[in-house]
Amino acid sequence: MERSKILIIVSTLIYPFLLMFGTYLILNGDLSPGGGFQGGVLFATSFFIRYLLSSKDPFNLVLLARFEKLLYLLLLLIGSVSLLIHQRFFTNFLVGNPWIAPRFFLVLLNFIIGFKVTLGVISIISSFVEEGEL
């Protein structure tokens, strides 16, 4: 497939910045605007740019779906830990313990949601790639 030179050069330029900015958005999600969803979509976009540059079929769909399923279950499990500690469903279970700061709950959830969104959007994109050339 023929690709424009402008597209290739601009993609090469913004690719590392996309990765960096996605990491920043996910890790700083509880202090500044951003969060798991936005960072995850940025990561997925950077993988799509990698596909545009190298033009080979990148991912195994079955493996992606399996990992996404596991992360989804992990989200449910972490959400229900507070049922054992505070007798309330889906809330911060680190509140009131003397060792770990409660903000790490938000960081952890942002990280999981970001990873899951990345896998979901990548699997959507690569299923379209598999169907026909994009």
């Binding site: 999600g29 959400g79 899951k116």
Partner: protein, 110 residues
């Protein structure tokens, strides 16, 4: 010549638009929302342990909301994979073998 004048007018309009929008945002954040933010931050931080209101809401008070949002994305990805994959690829090895035997016995003429 005409093209250059057109481009200049567009740029001028864009500049006016940008300045106006910047002023609106500035007044919004410094006058209205900023004060509210600063007044509420101390009280809020004690309860939610986050400097960002929105994160504290979607990961603490309304965690089930983001959970079902993740569910929607998961369902969409699964559905698209299901639609894209061909029927034969989805089958397990035993069913695939049965299908091959069936095909070889009932050799349809076409």
């Amino acid at each position: 010549m005409f093209m250059k004048i057109k481009i200049a007018i567009y740029l001028l309009l864009l500049g006016f638009f940008g300045v106006t929008l910047g002023g609106v945002f500035k007044s919004l954040f410094e006058g209205g929302l900023g004060d509210l933010y600063r007044r509420q931050l101390g009280e809020f931080y004690g309860q939610a342990h986050s400097a960002n209101f929105v994160t504290a809401i979607y990961l603490d008070y309304r965690l089930y909301d983001s959970f079902f949002e993740a569910t929607v994305l998961f369902a969409v990805a699964t559905g698209i994979i299901f639609m894209v994959r061909k029927d034969v690829e989805m089958l397990d090895p035993i069913s695939l073998k049965a299908l091959k035997i069936f095909d070889s016995k009932h050799d349809l003429e076409d």
